[in-house]
Symmetry: C2
Subunit: 557 residues, 2 copies
């Protein structure tokens, strides 16, 4: 007898293949499916997707609207057919999962085209439903010219409507709102951007977003901050929006980008544990309160690895890697490696400026009551003597007790992404401000600096901790005695209100012009020379403080 | 009596101020002086510099030669006068330190202009003498048309000589040799680049430098690898160089960039402990074997923080931060924070390409005998669906025992510096390959990827460690059964020698065309699809291996 024919199935093996059922076929769901297939050719993997598309590049949607990605097909990373061919998946688009029967391990499905229903069995269920754009129940909200942007169909609707009008209002100045403002301006539209907070990009601390304001205004975007919408009403050739301030806005298209809510109905109905904001609670292997059910992506909530609080982060990178983790755990069980938690690294381009954040902001640390220190510095994107160098403003925040980095924010015209990534990596490595001072980063004049702005932030942080630097965070907090140590010509061209000019090279000879009985606050262009001046003054017995970030950071047009 | 007049000096305070004497006023020395002054206005700080300049941008020298930094004065970061004014330093240029009297704590100085000599006292001495370009004692080496590049005067000499000739030979294809080849080509010169090793940029593993070869050749640089100079001889209108191979080269200017040796004579004569290659041995506070004497910069040797071996790294960033550490230790003693050691992060631009390294290369790990694993992957510099994305090839090396990252190398046309900096930070944080998989980097289509190439390297490394990926490092190592899984048109356009084409979507249907008794090696364009194919094959029982980096990395023009 040929040995191969003797092989029989062991009693423990099921006669039908194991089934992984995945609800939602975009970032997290598609990643989970791909990884699961690499673990096994035998598993049956089924993706259920309510929309017509799977695995599309939703971060690219604004850029097709603005024409920067001209070819719409670039955004379809995979199609149901390509997933079938490449990964041997069963993909059911335009199909809705309406109910989970946890006891029988089935999901009730409804085909949105034919209306047919069925109960689909699973051995492992992965929920990747994503999040839905918020649409507040305001009067007139159902007007078809009030649109949100989440998928390719939304994008097509916005493109169609945008073609009919020159005036577009965007409500919400977060990441997507800012990208849309940029792209619609590229299209030649007249754009009004309305934000309830008194700043754009409320994820960042307000002072870090000021360069974006100037950039938006320079490109003709009409900014309305600290105001919200109360009601919409159709009018001839457009739609009017009434603001809380009483002002009326008129536009041919209104884009709502005020945030998202997790698509949690299926999980909620199934009795899975939810977090305080409605996200599906998961463990580090992405398992929900039912170990046969995983949740990944925008709808789930894990633990923040920095301070251990619950964290729900709606970003593509985490969604992909959470999907991978779920698939690993299904296949490898206790040998799988846990998902370490999301720290919320994100970035946005606003015309020539870019800005971003990783980890905790000052506002969030304050609301948590965690003791922290912070510093803001400027530095060139690469050697300032090499052409094309741009100033980056970098803010870091660290734990007061041990100097561990908790968060960072950066803004500038070049190299912001690099610094955020360095600092995101530093957070993952639990590095301290002293470690930042000594990071050894790649340096050649076109690429970096012998002392990178990240090093400078580490130096400044250490100086603050050690008492060498007494910082004055804002010009408004400076007392009456302000010394501008820039060259006289610079100080005359862009005067600092209330400051007396003593250029640094003259400082030691002109100490008698400074009142030693009063605190003195020094300011310069970038926040470096003012620190040098404050050290000179402190070492001569003055109560000397340096105004952070200099005129570059403190004075905005 | 006015209270201020009652203040008298305490017996422990010396009547004359403490003196810090610094030998060498460029990167490390200038940084030490600046930091020391911020600690105290009272310390006497004296800089002795053999050359005429202090604190110049030596990394910028090639770029002024090529005209990319048009203004020479941009390179003079400080002048003796500006250091006097800003930092109240005593700066003596064109002055040589010839002897240290450790017992009496004096240094013998000679003014190179006037010839006057003196013994200068110090309380703390900081040696920052730098390194000198190697000039091997070959016949004819003293020809004035054989130049090295280390300071502004060298630069001026090269510019003067380059103006007289169209033919320039560069000996040594390290960082400076490559920068000079690029910049002299920009000037329209006919450039020959000679390197003793069979590769350019010998700091990197050879396969990672192949894209640079193509780039140099595309720009008309004549490359001679694996050959060295035996002798020089003057000839009419130029100089001839005889190579070891017997070949003769003719040029109007020869630039030697074959490395540097530490300027250690002063330290050696003073009996300070030196390392095996002649560098001045220092502790983590940059103290030499004499605690009153510090050494910083290219001439000193500390400890590699990755594997604990002695490390002498000739780079500007470390020099600056070592100078700062020495000044801190003089002022703060045991409260100062140690210098953590240098990992040798460096980068070079070669026309449109850039390449760099952080930490240990494969060649160095092999010579040390440290057990490691390595993987090479490709990924886009930012979302491939967004215009302008370029492919980055990334190699990482990690400790076999615990997965800790030991080094990384990258090459590509965009974003190489960012990935090196992320990985340099990861090394500092002692991150593992599993941590790399989950680094949360900034992602928006113009800046990054939902799965960055660093994440992909972490994924691939974990797959290798866990046995999911059997890598074939080079096409040459692949056995006879190679399957090219790219689309038929791509495979036809750029065929892989000896490979059979089965596009991935057809693979499951064409398994019968593959011999299950022989190992099978899959290849694709970027090294990702071939891994997918190898997983399919492995899960169907084949002994399947994936060729790393795909045709992009394995096939070079």
């Amino acid at each position: 007898m040929h040995p191969l024919t003797m092989k029989t199935e062991t009693p423990s093996a099921s006669s039908s293949p194991e089934t992984i059922l995945i609800i939602g076929g975009v970032a997290g769901g598609a990643s989970a499916a791909a990884r699961a297939r690499r673990h096994s050719e035998k598993t049956r993997i089924v993706i259920i997707e309510r929309g017509p598309d799977v695995s599309f590049a939703n971060c690219g949607l604004p850029y097709h609207i603005g024409g920067e990605i001209p070819d719409r097909s670039e955004l379809a990373l995979q199609t149901p057919d390509s997933l079938r061919q490449l990964l041997n998946l069963e993909v059911r688009t335009l199909t809705e999962a309406t109910r989970i029967d946890r006891e029988n391990q089935t999901v009730h499905l409804r085909n949105l085209t034919t209306g047919t229903e069925e109960d689909h069995p699973y051995d492992h269920l992965i929920l990747s439903p994503g999040a839905a754009p918020l649409r507040p129940p305001l009067p007139g909200i159902d007007d078809p010219r009030i649109l949100t942007l989440r998928n390719l169909q939304d994008m097509d609707r916005i493109l169609t409507q945008a073609a009919t009008t020159e005036r577009i209002a965007i409500i919400g100045a977060g990441f997507i709102g800012l990208e849309m403002a940029e792209q619609l301006t590229h299209l030649g539209k007249s754009v009004t951007l309305i934000e309830l907070q008194p700043q754009v990009l409320p994820q960042l601390d307000p002072e870090m977003t000021l360069p974006l304001l100037a950039e938006l205004r320079d490109h003709g975007v009409d900014l309305i901050l600290g105001d919200g919408i109360e009601a919409f009403s159709p009018e001839e050739n457009g739609i009017a929006a009434r603001l809380k301030s009483g002002r009326w806005l008129h536009a041919g298209l209104i884009i709502l980008s005020i945030g998202v809510r997790p698509e949690n109905q299926l999980a909620k109905d199934a009795g899975l544990t939810l977090g305080s904001r409605g996200h599906i609670t998961v463990n580090p292997f992405q398992q929900t309160s039912d170990p046969a059910i995983y949740a990944v992506g925008d709808a789930c909530e894990g633990i923040d690895p920095i301070l251990g609080t619950p964290a729900a982060i709606a970003l593509g990178g985490p969604a992909n890697r959470q999907g991978r983790t779920a698939a690993d755990h299904i296949h490898q069980k206790q040998n799988a490696r846990p998902y370490p938690g999301s720290i919320g690294t994100s970035i946005v381009r606003v015309f020539a400026q870019s800005a971003g954040i990783t980890g905790w902001s000052e506002a969030r640390l304050k609301s948590l009551g965690h003791p922290y220190q912070t510093i803001t510095v400027n530095g060139p994107s690469h050697a300032s003597y090499f052409p094309g160098s741009q100033t980056i403003t970098l803010k870091i925040l660290w734990s007061q007790s041990d100097g561990r980095l908790l968060g960072a924010q950066a803004v500038g015209k070049d190299g912001v992404d690099k610094r955020l990534d360095i600092l995101a990596t530093a957070i993952r490595g639990r590095l301290t401000i002293d470690d930042l001072a000594h990071l050894e980063l790649s340096y050649a004049p076109p690429f970096g600096n012998a002392k990178d702005v990240v090093n400078i932030a580490g130096f400044a942080a250490g100086n603050l901790r050690d008492g060498h630097l007494l910082p004055t965070p804002t010009l408004a907090q400076a007392g009456p005695q302000i010394i501008d140590v820039r060259p006289a010509a610079t100080a005359a061209k862009q005067p600092v209100p209330g400051a007396k000019n003593i250029p640094l090279p003259q400082l030691r000879q002109r100490l008698n012009e400074i009142d030693p009985t009063q605190p003195v606050h020094t300011i310069c262009q970038m926040g470096k020379t003012s620190y040098f001046a404050a050290r000179i003054l402190a070492n001569h017995g003055f109560n000397a403080h340096s105004i952070l970030g200099g005129a570059h950071h403190q004075l905005h047009p």
